[in-house]
Amino acid sequence: MLYRENGQFKTSYRADQQIFPIAQDRIAVALLLAVAFLVVPMLASDYIFRAILIPFVIMALAALGVNILVGYCGQISLGSGAFMAVGAYGAYNFFVRFPGMPLIPALILGGLCATFFGILFGLPSLRVKGLYLAVATLAAQFFSDWMFLRIKWFTNNSDSGSVSVNNLQVFGFPIESATSKYLFCLALLVVVALLAKNLVRGAIGREWMAIRDMDVAAAVIGIRPMYAKLSAFAVSSFIVGMAGALWAFVHLGAWEPAAFSVEISFRLLFMVIIGGLGSIAGGFFGAAFIVVLPIVLNQFLPAFMGLFGIEVSTAGVSHAELMIFGALIVWFLIVEPHGLAKLWSTAKQKLRLWPFPH
């Protein structure tokens, strides 16, 4: 009864082409945004902000970027960590080398650095595809790992490659407290998600999806593979780079190249696959799952094993975490290969008919 769309007639093309054509969706999204912007900051504690909400928001942004490349354009990438690193160090260089550089332009310039890097390492996608490309993108990962460790210029001549930023502010407001950090990242996420949603349902998004579904056929009907693939790499790495800059600037504050290792690339890919390939909402689901899961396991596993009288060491917890993580991924792939977003849309389908079975 709640989610029924009869009676909602579209009388103009405009109405038909809205992002959320169903009234209930619009209300739900508005409510969700209100909760995220108003209620959450009042309720959440500092710990929840720092351990869960801020990482979730930033990772959701990164997953959004990866989803554009992997989910919408079908170019599997294992180099997302590198794009994050380039974004972070790029933004850092603009931030410290130009006195008085405001935060937002620094983030955008960092994103542009990542765009350039992404296009460069996206070039092989014109020749190879699928699994070959997945391995080829690892080149970007290892190259960036090395670059930020060894080339001192990028890290302002620090020995270990570790750098830090402070005194972040936006339009004169300091970004110091957990709440302000959260709100800043969330605002950015909402803006980018809106832009991305519009991008993927426009002409360029359709080109990406055509390339993903069958690149030869797409080329035959007049889609330029080079333009489509490289633009996907560009847009994706811009978003991922911005997320990397946020991760470094806002979440970590001080970081070293190891913060963007190949591990983070894998995690981003997990987020996209578990969340749902080719779905903007999927990135959010996936990020929530991957960010929250280790924390939950860390908190509850020792207590749970304690019930059976088994003492678990710290190393034991981390090993068990790896095992549960791996098993869950496999389980998810078997049970729901289209990700959490698919579950969500199935639920919506059912709700449209509820309480009638047909």
Binding site: A139, I273, M323, F325
Partner: protein, 309 residues
């Protein structure tokens, strides 16, 4: 000149070991179309099992002979890898038939995490050694030709010989036995193979078992060189450029790719490294493979795929 040759030989030897790991990737990709990211975790798992059993068997049975202990440990570790292969087929692959490449890749990533966690839970996470009696001292060759001769690691030579023997064995297995023929048939076309009565599930178990044994041998050799520890999983990441250089479906490609990457890595590190700050080994291999892919996207010996609409 002598130094150059020394580097070259060192590179060839290292390359042989890369091909050993790469072989595991190729075998599985060839027979099932799965890009097995878990190969590195399998190497770690097998090496951990072997190292620990070689340690435990003398404690449990009182047998002091290291040969018996190592042999028994090898057999037990091999058996464990069989069980792992069977379980992977039974619990994971069987349910993922006909899924996309990306999904299968992710599944093997999941297996990677699981095996890493399980291996360290069962066998501990310290650094262990595997001592299979490999000679450590270097030998000198061609004393007459160059001043001081060329320094070659005996250990590397033996490792390369083992790798070469394994490759020869696998080639015979693939070419001459009926199981090998069945494997190749499955590689060509799952459905066609199934329709003439080749059991797909059994083939998968076999090929994962073979990959498990290859992982065990690789783990044994790498483990006796570097010690068995978590970083062994990164060996797989270093073998990946070998696979794409050689072509995902070619056993000889894995060997030759391994040699090229091994030599390229060592030479670049020695002759190019000093100009750019060193440590370029790991990405150089990838960039080499990448540049190569631009000219020949299917790798050296890979099959050319013709797309049709």
């Amino acid at each position: 000149m002598a130094f150059f040759l020394e580097t070259l030989i060192g590179g060839l030897m290292a390359g042989m070991l890369y091909s050993l790991v790469a072989l595991g990737f190729v075998l599985i990709y060839k027979a099932s179309g799965v890009f097995n990211f878990a190969q590195g975790a399998m190497v770690l798992f097998a090496a951990l099992a072997m190292a620990r059993f070689a340690e435990w068997i003398p404690q449990w049975t009182g047998i002091q002979s290291p040969i018996v202990a190592n042999l028994a440990a090898f057999v037990i570790a091999g058996a464990i890898m069989f069980v792992v292969a069977w379980l992977i087929e039974k619990l994971v692959l069987r349910h993922l038939v006909n899924q996309e490449g990306a999904t299968l890749l992710m599944a093997t990533l999941g297996i990677t995490y699981f095996l890493e966690g399980l291996g360290q839970t069962l066998f501990g996470s310290d650094i262990y050694k595997i001592d299979i009696g490999m000679p450590k001292e270097p030998i000198f060759m061609l004393d007459g030709m160059f001043q001081g001769g060329i320094l070659v690691n005996k250990e590397d030579v033996i490792a390369a010989a083992i790798a070469a023997a394994l490759v020869a064995l696998l080639s015979v297995f693939f070419q001459k036995t009926s199981t090998g023929r069945a494997l190749r048939a499955v590689a060509d076309d799952h459905q066609a193979a199934q329709s003439i009565g080749i059991p797909l599930n059994r083939i998968w178990v076999i090929v994962w078992c073979v990959a498990g044994v290859v992982a065990l041998v690789a783990g044994m050799i790498w483990g006796s060189k570097l010690g068995v520890q978590f970083s062994l999983t990164t060996v797989a990441l270093r073998a990946l450029p070998v696979v794409i250089l050689g072509g995902l479906t070619s056993v000889p490609g894995a060997i030759i790719g391994g040699l090229i990457i091994g030599v390229g890595e060592k030479l670049s590190e020695v002759y190019l490294g000093p100009f750019v700050g060193g440590g370029i080994e790991i990405w150089f291999a990838y960039v080499l493979a990448l540049v190569f892919l631009l000219f020949r996207p299917q790798g050296l010996f890979g099959e050319k795929i013709i797309d049709r609409v």
